[in-house]
Amino acid sequence: MPDDWTRVTALFTAALERPASERDAFLAEACGGDEALRREVISLLAAHARAGDFLEAPVGEAAALRASAPGPSLEGCLVGPYRVEREIGRGGMGVVYLAEDTRLGRKVALKSLAPEIVSDERRRNRLRREARAAATLSHPGIATVYALEEIDNQLLIASEYVQGRTLRAELDGGAMPAAEVVEIGIRIARALEAAHASGVIHRDLKPDNMIRTRDGGMKILDFGIAWIDQAEAGSGAQPARLTESGAVMGTPSYMSPEQIEGAAVDARTDVFSLGVVLYELLCGSNPFEAHTPLATAARIMATDPPPLAASNVSAPPSLEAVVRKCLAKDREERYQQASELVRDLEAIRPEVAGTGVETPVARRQVQVRGIGPPGARAWWVAHQLAIMALYILMIYPAWEVRGWWGGYWGQALFLGLIAGAVVNGVLRVHLLFTSRFNPSAMGTGLRRNMPWVTRSDVAVAAVLLLAGLTVAASHTWTAAWLAAVAFGAVVVALVVEPMTVQAAFPAEAGGPKPGA
């Protein structure tokens, strides 16, 4: 019997891989007259077709999803004195809107807390207490909490509306130079110092709630809100976040070991989380992040992040030591206060000075190998696309010239252009693909392909120039156009492109390379 079932499964799987119209014929043949077997597989196929997402959502999971569904949007509504303009963010705790406080005529960030978070009276009380504490904080590095409003049974927190880019958004551009990371670290740590002095712990520091303001400062968002995860801490050690709303809260990537254990947290938890952020800024990826929240939590508990050098980041050892001290599993071994961290980071400042953003040489020292600043890469991509578009456009005048010239040489000229443009285009598309999907191979790709890109550029330019010269007498304007493009292409290929490549892929395109 089990053997039969193995066969049934195999046939069922094989039949599913075929289009529905061919399945009957396939089974008739594969079952070879075993009518019972054939009927069994067909009945399974029918069940499969009707099963929909039967069992696909693990038991209990479906209900959890439903519970976390957001309430109706407040966009366009007038809630108490607040005129809600638009949604600017959403997370496990609720939805954040940009709103105007009509009494004062100022913009605020209005956070509407998810109903299931505030349904419990004890939590509400705790929330009131914490918001009161957070509202006492007044520091340029902290988004000020203005008010806690309870309107129509909704709980809303109005706070300073900060314009700028989150560090999460900046991280999309890859790792940052050490000097910049040190500056960010100092600013955030100073803000933490002020908050901790007032007895307020953030508990949920991550790149998503650190914003670089338009004037270049840093601000921490969401003080006095993040703590709600820890509600009911009275019931002892438990990783409340994981169970209560793991699906909503995302991963525990920035949690401290004591938070994961569910122990009481203090200022040193913020130090750990800041350490994770600094590490991520330096090397471009979170040292603990794994595929599942559990695996991430396990890494936070048990694994030390790899040395920065393993990610080809050459941060000064002193900076790495500071970050590691933040990341100590045992909080007794971390910086006990944010002020100590500020002091150590300030001591490093002169050492990393000069590795600032402005100097490409310095940038090369800290950049993840092979990847340049996002702006330069965008230029490089635009360059590739522009050249390919130009060559495609040049097919038209070349076709005309072929007609005017005629005969064997006209054909040869035209085909020569096509051949050069195709080789060039294919190589460029290949490089675009590599830069996007296989950046670690970019160095090899550039070394191997760039000489041929340049050669085909020159070949195409030569053909265009030749075409221009041959028709110069009869078609002056076309000739001028062809010649201009030809000269332009040569200059671009020999002068402009090497510079673009150098800027976009500083570590790979020659020049001084760290350890390579």
């Binding site: 019997m1 089990p2 079932w5 193995t6 049934v8 499964t9 069922f12 799987t13 599913l16 009945s43 399974l44 196929l45 029918a46 069940a47 499969h48 009707r50 099963a51 929909g52 997402d53 039967f54 069992l55 696909e56 959502a57 693990p58 038991v59 209990g60 999971e61 479906a62 209900a63 959890a64 999803l65 439903r66 519970a67 299931e116 009911e232 019931s235 002892g236 050690a237 438990q238 990783p239 994981l242 169970t243 209560e244 709303s245 793991g246 699906a247 070991p257 994961i260 254990e261 595929h291 599942t292 929240p293 559990l294 939590a297 396990a298 508990m301 048990a302 694994t303 599993k329």
Partner: protein
């Protein structure tokens, strides 16, 4: 806190991995007990309103059992499979208890907990599912265990593959076949 000492659990896992069957049977109640505690507390906390999230429960039980001690990759996978099986037992027991208190003898379709299943196209009769799963186990034990891991344990395809020592492709294939089998059993052969 009556939690089993992590050392004991780790030892048992190691023995179980080495093929020691008695270790497995000693381990089961430990994991089961821990899961039970976590699940009960979680339900109490939410007053049955929401979020009996299997994945979260299984993972929390794991964290509680192992606290800060590192556990090998294989042991973790093994643990997840055992936890998934425990989860099945817990849920079936709850279904039985509910059925008994609601309908006396337990006749008629019994669903685990309406609030947990509202998103399913129709309420699943857990006792029927359990029986069907036993029939499937007789045909193909691995397929039944895959269902345990995926549906009762909330594990991903990859985690399931790890736990059962097979490839994700096999898990996907067997999962599809098992789902079709169970669906047919539950809808046609009453």
């Amino acid at each position: 806190m009556t939690s089993a000492a992590p050392e004991a659990v780790t030892k048992l896992l190691e023995r179980a991995r080495a093929g020691d069957r008695s270790a497995m049977s000693e381990l089961m109640p430990l994991v089961y007990g821990e899961l039970h505690r976590v699940a009960a507390r979680s339900l109490r906390r939410e007053r049955g309103r929401q979020t009996l999230q299997t994945t979260a429960l299984v993972h929390e039980a794991y964290l509680r059992l192992f606290k800060s001690r590192p556990v090998s990759f294989q042991d973790r996978a093994h643990f997840l499979a055992i936890a998934a099986r425990s989860m099945r037992q817990i849920l079936i027991e709850r279904a039985r208890a509910r059925g008994a208190s609601k309908r006396g003898s337990g006749r008629g379709p019994i669903t685990l907990d309406e609030s947990l299943l509202t998103e399913q196209p129709r309420p699943i009769d857990f006792l029927d599912l359990d029986n069907a799963l036993n029939r499937l186990a007789a045909l193909d034990d691995r397929q039944a265990r895959i269902v345990e891991c995926r549906f009762f344990g909330g594990l991903t395809v990859e985690e399931t593959a790890e736990a059962l020592d097979t490839s994700p492709a096999t898990v996907k294939r067997d999962w599809t076949a098992a789902r079709a089998f169970l669906y047919r059993e539950l809808t046609e052969r009453r």
